[in-house]
C-alpha cells in the first residue's frame, strides 16, 4: 500500500500535467523535492488524484509547486483539500533567520560591545564590592544578622571538602619541584639546595597560588552556578521581597568562608608540598627527614609564611567576589549560567595571578626577600 512519493510529467490536451503518485508524506518523500526543483516550465495542471496518504509537508510541496509555477490543483480528495487549505492559510511571509549584519560592521560591533562589557564588569565588580562592604557594616552594627550556620556550612564545602584534592595536588607538585630542582642543581653539585627550593617556593608562592587556582575552580565556579540558578528560579527576588538581603544571606557567608578558609588551605597545601619534597629527597637524594626539617627551619624565613598568610585571604576575597558577582549577573537563561561560571573562574584566576605579581614586587621592595 505505502509507496514512495513520485511524479510524472506529460502533455495532455495541450496542457502540461504534473501527476503526483504514492504517499506524499515526510517519510516517503525521498528525492522528490529536489527533482521537483529541477523541473522547468510553468503553468501546470497538478493532478493529485493518484496520491495515497498525505501530510502537511506533502500538502505544502503541492501548494508550493502550484504557487511558484502558477498551476492549478485538481483531483484532491476531501482530506487532501482540507490539508491544502490549511497550508495555504499558513503561507505567510515568515522570517526564519535573523538579518545578517555586514562583516565589517559586525567586527566593529563586537569590539565595541566587548569594550563596553569590560568597562561594565569593572564598574559592576567595584559596585558589588562596595555593596558588600556596606552590608558588612550593617552586620557589624547588628551582629544578630550574621548567619553563622550558613558560614559554617560554607566552611565545610569550601574548606573541608577541598582537603583531599588540594592535598594530593600539593603533594605531587612538591615531588615534581624536588625532582626537577634536583636534576638542575646536580649539574652544579648543589643538590642539597633542593631543600631551599622546595621550602621557599612552596611556602612563598606555590602553596597559596595552586590553592587559589583550585579554590577558584571548585568554589568560585560553584558560587556562580548556584547564585545564577537561584536568580533564574527567582529565588533571589523572593528573598528580597521577604526582606532578606541576598547580600547578607548568600554573598557574605560565601565571601567570609572563602576569605577564612584560603589561608588555612594555603598553609596546608604548602606543608603537604614540603612533605612531598621531603619524601622525594629521602628516597632519591638520601636526605633523611630529620635533616630535611632542620634545613627547612634554617633556610625558610618567617617572612615567607607572613607572605602566604597575607596573600591567601586577599585571593579568597577575589575568588568569592568574582564568583558571587558573576552569579548575580545572570538574567536570561541556563546558557548564561554556564557562561557566567566560566567567566567567574577565568576572572578569578587572572586577577589572582596579576595580584600575585604585585605582591611579589611589593614584598621584595619592603625587604621581605
Amino acid at each position: 500500500m505505502s509507496s514512495v512519493a513520485r511524479f510524472t510529467e506529460s502533455v495532455e490536451e495541450g496542457r502540461r500535467v504534473l501527476r503526483f503518485q504514492g504517499d506524499l508524506t515526510l517519510s516517503r518523500l525521498g528525492p522528490l523535492p529536489t527533482r521537483l526543483d529541477r523541473l522547468k516550465g510553468r503553468d501546470f495542471l497538478i493532478d493529485i488524484s493518484g496520491v495515497g496518504r498525505m501530510d502537511t509537508i506533502g500538502a505544502w510541496i503541492v501548494h508550493r509547486t502550484a504557487r511558484d509555477r502558477g498551476g492549478e490543483i485538481v483531483g484532491a480528495g476531501e482530506g487532501a483539500a482540507t490539508l491544502l487549505r490549511q497550508v495555504e492559510k499558513a503561507d505567510l511571509p515568515v522570517k526564519v533567520r535573523p538579518d545578517p549584519p555586514a562583516p565589517f560592521e559586525r567586527v566593529l560591533t563586537q569590539l565595541g560591545e566587548a569594550t563596553i562589557e569590560a568597562g561594565r564588569t569593572f564598574v559592576g565588580l567595584l559596585g558589588f564590592f562596595g555593596a558588600m562592604l556596606l552590608s558588612i557594616g550593617y552586620v557589624i552594627r547588628q551582629p544578630r544578622r550574621f548567619r553563622l550556620n550558613a558560614v559554617v556550612q560554607r566552611f565545610e564545602v569550601v574548606g573541608v571538602h577541598a582537603f583531599g584534592i588540594i592535598g594530593l595536588m600539593s603533594f605531587l607538585v612538591g615531588i615534581v619541584i624536588a625532582q626537577q630542582g634536583a636534576v638542575q642543581l646536580r649539574q652544579f653539585g648543589a643538590e642539597v639546595f633542593t631543600v631551599n627550593l622546595i621550602g621557599r617556593s612552596s611556602i612563598k608562592e606555590l602553596g597559596v597560588l595552586m590553592t587559589a587556582i583550585m579554590v577558584a575552580g571548585r568554589s568560585g565556579s560553584s558560587f556562580a552556578a548556584q547564585l545564577g540558578s537561584m536568580k533564574l528560579a527567582e529565588e533571589v527576588d523572593a528573598m528580597r521581597t521577604i526582606g532578606v538581603s541576598p547580600m547578607e544571606a548568600l554573598v557574605l557567608p560565601r565571601v567570609f568562608a572563602t576569605v577564612l578558609m584560603m589561608p588555612l588551605l594555603g598553609f596546608y597545601a604548602a606543608i603537604v608540598a614540603i612533605v612531598g619534597g621531603a619524601v622525594f629527597c629521602w628516597v632519591s637524594l638520601e636526605i633523611p627527614p630529620v635533616t630535611f626539617v632542620q634545613r627547612i627551619r634554617e633556610v625558610v624565613p618567617a617572612t615567607d609564611l607572613w607572605q602566604l598568610l597575607i596573600k591567601a585571604p586577599v585571593f579568597g576575597l577575589i575568588i568569592s567576589l568574582a564568583g558571587c558577582f558573576q552569579g548575580m549577573q545572570v538574567k536570561s537563561d541556563a546558557e548564561e549560567v554556564g557562561l557566567r561560571t566560566t567567566t567567574a573562574v577565568v576572572q578569578a584566576i587572572f586577577l589572582v595571578i596579576v595580584l600575585d605579581a604585585f605582591f611579589a614586587v611589593f614584598f621584595t621592595e619592603i625587604g621581605w626577600l
Partner: protein, 275 residues
C-alpha cells in the same frame, strides 16, 4: 495486528517506584487512535512519571508499554527511532533549546530524521508550522528567552508537530496561560486533531480543557488508573476523589460553562431552522 491497530498506546501492569515510594503499581491504560485523552490525578500521583515511562525517559520497574504496537521497554535507541518519528512531545516548560531560534528549534527533528531535506524546504516547513500554531510571522528568528510563556508553548507545539506525528503528548499545555490563551490553546489542539488526525495524550489540571476537548479522561489515583471514560461516565462513578474533583466549585463552573455553550449552540441551530 489489525485489531491492535486502533490502540495507539497500551500500558499493562506498569510499576514505578523511587526508593521506597511506590508511584505506580499495576497501572493499565489504553489509548485509541484519534482520540484526545486527558489524564488527571492529584499532585504526586505520577501523571508525568506515567508519560515519561511511555515515552521511554523513565525506566519502569515492571510492566509492559507498547506504542503503535511496538514494545517500548528494553529496546535500544536504534529500534526506537521508528517510533520516535511518529510522535511529538510538548514538555511542561516547552523545553525549547535555548541556544536555537524558534525556527531552528522546529527544524531540529526534521534535520535529525531527514538530513536530505534542502535548506529551502526546511525553512519553508518551519515557516508554515510557525504560522499554523498561531505564532506571529516575526517569531522565527527569535530566541526562546525573548518569548512569553504562551508563545513558548506554541513554539514547543510547532516543534512537536515538525514531523507531522500521529501521536502528540502534552504535559500540562495550558498551565501558566491566561484563560484567553488557554482557550485558544484548547482550540488549537482540537483544530490540529481534526486537520491531522492526531491522537493526543494530554496531562492537565485544567477543568475547562477536560470539559471542552477531551474525548475520554483517565483518572490516576491509588497508584493506578482507577477509571477511564467520558466525564458523564466518570461522574456516575461513586469515587470520592472523582466526585470532589469534578463536583468541586471549579468543576461545577466548568461544567456550567460547557452546558451554557451547548445550550447556546442548540438555540442557534433551532433558531436557524425556525427562520
Amino acid at each position: 495486528m489489525s485489531g491492535s491497530d486502533d490502540i495507539v498506546i497500551e500500558v499493562k501492569g506498569l510499576r514505578n517506584s523511587f526508593g521506597d515510594a511506590v508511584i505506580h503499581d499495576g497501572l493499565d491504560l489504553e489509548v485509541k487512535r484519534g482520540e484526545i485523552i486527558g489524564v488527571v490525578g492529584g499532585s504526586g500521583t505520577g501523571k508525568s512519571v506515567m508519560m515519561r515511562s511511555i515515552i521511554g525517559l523513565q525506566r519502569p520497574d515492571g510492566g509492559e508499554v507498547r506504542v503503535f504496537g511496538e514494545p517500548m521497554l528494553d529496546r535500544d535507541d536504534a529500534q526506537l527511532q521508528g517510533v520516535r518519528k511518529r510522535w511529538g512531545i510538548l514538555f511542561q516548560g516547552a523545553a525549547l533549546f535555548s541556544t536555537l531560534t524558534v525556527a531552528e528549534n522546529v527544524q531540529v527533528p526534521l534535520r535529525e530524521f531527514y538530513p536530505r531535506l534542502s535548506e529551502r524546504l526546511l525553512d519553508e516547513i518551519a515557516a508554515y508550522k510557525i504560522v499554523m500554531v498561531g505564532l506571529a510571522p516575526d517569531a522565527g528568528p527569535k530566541y526562546p528567552a525573548e518569548l512569553s510563556g504562551g508563545m513558548r508553548k506554541r513554539a514547543g507545539i510547532a516543534r512537536a508537530l515538525a514531523l507531522d506525528p500521529e501521536l502528540l503528548f502534552l504535559d500540562e499545555p495550558t498551565a501558566g496561560l491566561d484563560p484567553i490563551g488557554a482557550a485558544a490553546f484548547d482550540q488549537l489542539i482540537v483544530d490540529l486533531r481534526e486537520r491531522l488526525g492526531l491522537t493526543v495524550f494530554l496531562i492537565t489540571h485544567d477543568l475547562d480543557t477536560l470539559y471542552t476537548i477531551c474525548d475520554r479522561v483517565a483518572v490516576l489515583a491509588d497508584r493506578k488508573v482507577i477509571a477511564v471514560g467520558t466525564i458523564p461516565e466518570l461522574l456516575a462513578l461513586d469515587h470520592e476523589w472523582i466526585q470532589e474533583y469534578f463536583r468541586g466549585p471549579r468543576g461545577r463552573a466548568a461544567e456550567e460553562a460547557m452546558e451554557a455553550e451547548a445550550e447556546a449552540r442548540t438555540a442557534e441551530t433551532n433558531g436557524g431552522t425556525e427562520a
